[in-house]
């Protein structure tokens, strides 16, 4: 009789210490949590936890500070880039990032994001594009896709009536002060790895004092898309990525 081989347990995956050990308030299948984790991992890998000041914004992610154990200040709707400017100017030695949804960043806060980017503020913006207003119950966002139904465009977004979705990673990349702008997704293992590389580069950009770093995440909102988590994740691949192509739109450090 051959004996069973002895199984040795090896820990390959753990919670980053900077993430609080508690369940989140996000809906099942929501990717805000995954994105928090990537940010948390990068903060730890770069040894930034102790010198970070985060700016949390309005939307489902306002409670970022319940999960990420760093110094944090809350911003009014859309104003996070202005507030982060104030933080970084007051404390240039701190590592500063803001976390914003698409309603927050591309609608009410469009002026603030454009100008902080254009000034080349040494900040990192984590932008979560789920093509809808999550917290307020699924209204149309500036990133809502043509034909996508929301509670305020029940017949589907129509270019003639509502304009087309705004592609922020491309728009931001066009500004002189920007050192890094990329769009990523977390719908597959491959994309997840890519996403983390992008956040790393954006962080490096700030650490090297190169200028403004921007990472747009395509993310799910199964609740307001009225989809199961699995279907929502499939929509990212089928509809969102074709409409919002992934890639690095600017990496100033690599260009020169």
């Amino acid at each position: 009789m051959s004996s069973m081989p002895e199984i040795k347990e090896e820990l390959v995956f753990d919670r980053p210490g900077v993430l609080a050990d508690k369940p989140t308030h996000y809906c099942p299948g929501c990717q805000h949590g995954v994105i928090h984790r990537i940010v948390a991992e990068c903060l730890e890998e770069f040894g930034l936890v102790e010198k970070t000041i985060a700016v949390s914004s309005i939307g489902c992610s306002v409670f970022l500070y319940n999960y990420l154990m760093v110094d944090t200040v809350e911003a009014p709707h859309g104003r996070a880039p202005a507030e982060a400017t104030g933080v970084k100017r007051a404390r240039p030695e701190a590592f500063v990032f803001a976390y914003q949804g698409d309603g927050d960043l591309a609608s009410i806060g469009l002026a603030e994001i454009m100008h902080a980017a254009n000034r080349g503020e040494k900040l990192t913006i984590i932008f979560v594009n789920n093509t809808v207003y999550g917290m307020t119950g699924g209204q149309m966002a500036p990133t809502t896709m043509i034909g996508q139904k929301t509670t305020t465009c029940p017949a589907g977004r129509c270019a003639e009536r509502e304009g087309g979705p705004m592609r922020m990673a491309e728009i931001i990349a066009g500004l002189d002060g920007v050192a890094y702008s990329a769009r990523v997704a977390v719908n597959s293992i491959k994309n997840l790895a890519q996403a983390k590389r992008a956040v790393r580069r954006a962080f490096e950009t700030q650490l090297h004092g190169d200028g403004f770093g921007f990472v747009e995440f395509l993310a799910t909102c199964p609740t307001n898309w009225r989809m199961t988590p699995v279907a929502a994740n499939e929509r990212v691949a089928k509809e969102m990525i074709p409409g919002f192509p992934l890639g690095v739109y600017k990496d100033a450090a690599k260009e020169d």
Binding site: V62, Y65, E74, A82, G86, A111, E112
Partner: protein, 353 residues
């Protein structure tokens, strides 16, 4: 006191006062009649080792202030009426998050775009909260260039003492006139200031959070109770200029530039033998209710003069209610009154007419 007098505009005095008080972050957006402030600070602030940002709007300027304030760095923004309306969102958030900062309003004529002439039409907005929610900002009203300097300096001390936004309410008259100002010894700000709450990056301590959202059951009520207590405690800071009210039968109540112009009128009428005096509130919030009430209890009559169509007079009437009333004389926003314009209204009020 560092002694040597300087001959400067009220607006410049605000910039100098802020620098002397240790202000090291300035955020602003151009609007008449306060542009001398950002113009001066665009070079003076970096020279002092601080930061100057011309923001994309007053909305952004006030939120930059919020960010810098969260870091415990002395910071200021300045504007005029329409611009201050845009700042109200951030001011409400700062009050809710208990963040110290200085906001200067060199009041111009309104409502709407109004004009660029002097006015006190933003009294209500300044002292009643201005933005959304139950909150107060401390409000200081300078009447001279020296006061522009001194009150700006003190605004920073008060902002940190109470962890609250402090407003300086001036106008186009005091901002644009030039007078000798005696500067103070620049303050060496205690590096430990704000040490128990400011954001620095958490280091070895527990993370800190500055916010105005209180969703859990009863949490907001708790925060509001604390805030209201704080606003009550600000009453200790009441300041007035009292000019010959002791034997006066009529007390003129007027603030800022109008208070100063009214003082000239009161002086003229005193020379005529009329028993009149002036009470000039220097703190508009906290309002000097008890001072007014004492005067009312001593049997004085009141005339409130303002550069608007009747705002502070409500607070005067509330203060003296049950004992007296106040007559009102209003100068239309945008007009520039002379002391002579006030003589007849004061005479009439003194007669009890």
């Amino acid at each position: 006191m560092s002694g040597k007098r300087i001959f400067i505009k009220g607006n410049e005095a605000i910039a100098h006062g802020a620098l002397a008080a240790g202000c090291r972050c300035y955020f602003g957006y151009p609007i008449t009649p306060q542009n001398d402030i950002p113009e001066m600070l665009s070079s003076a602030m970096p020279a002092a080792g601080g930061q100057f940002v011309q923001a994309e709007s007053e909305v952004a300027a006030a939120n930059m202030l919020l960010g810098a304030a969260a870091c415990g760095v002395r910071a200021m923004t300045t504007s005029s009426s329409p611009g201050v309306s845009l700042m109200q969102e951030a001011i409400s958030y700062m009050a809710g998050s208990e963040l110290p900062g200085v906001i200067v309003n060199m009041n111009r004529g309104g409502p709407g775009l109004g004009d660029i002439g002097p006015s006190q039409g933003d009294y209500f907005q300044s002292v009643k909260g201005g933005g959304h929610g139950d909150y107060r900002t401390m409000v200081l009203a300078p009447a001279t260039c020296q006061e522009c300097y001194d009150l700006t300096f003190e605004a920073f001390e008060l902002a940190y003492k109470y962890r609250n936004p402090v407003l300086l309410l001036g106008d186009a008259i005091v901002g644009q006139m030039k007078e000798p100002v005696v500067p103070r010894e620049p303050l060496a700000v205690d590096p430990e200031e704000g040490g128990d709450w400011k954001l620095t990056g958490r280091g070895q301590r527990a993370p800190r959070l500055l916010k105005s959202l209180f969703l859990e059951d009863g949490a907001l009520a708790g925060q509001n109770i604390l805030l209201q207590r704080k606003y009550e405690s600000m009453r200790d800071e009441v300041r007035v200029e009292d000019f010959e009210t002791k034997d006066a039968e009529l007390v003129v109540v007027a603030f800022g530039s109008i208070g100063r112009i009214a003082k000239s009128a009161v002086r003229t009428l005193r020379a005529e033998g009329l028993k009149v005096g002036l009470l000039r509130p220097i703190t508009l919030y906290p309002f000097p209710d008890s001072v007014l009430r004492e005067l009312a209890a001593a049997g004085k009559r009141f005339l409130t003069i303002e550069h608007n169509l009747g705002q502070m007079v409500d607070d005067v009437r509330l203060a003296v209610r049950g004992l007296a009333d106040s007559a009102f004389y209003g100068v239309f926003p945008g007009n520039l009154p002379t002391p002579d314009e006030f003589l007849e209204p004061i005479r009439a009020a003194a007669k009890g007419a």
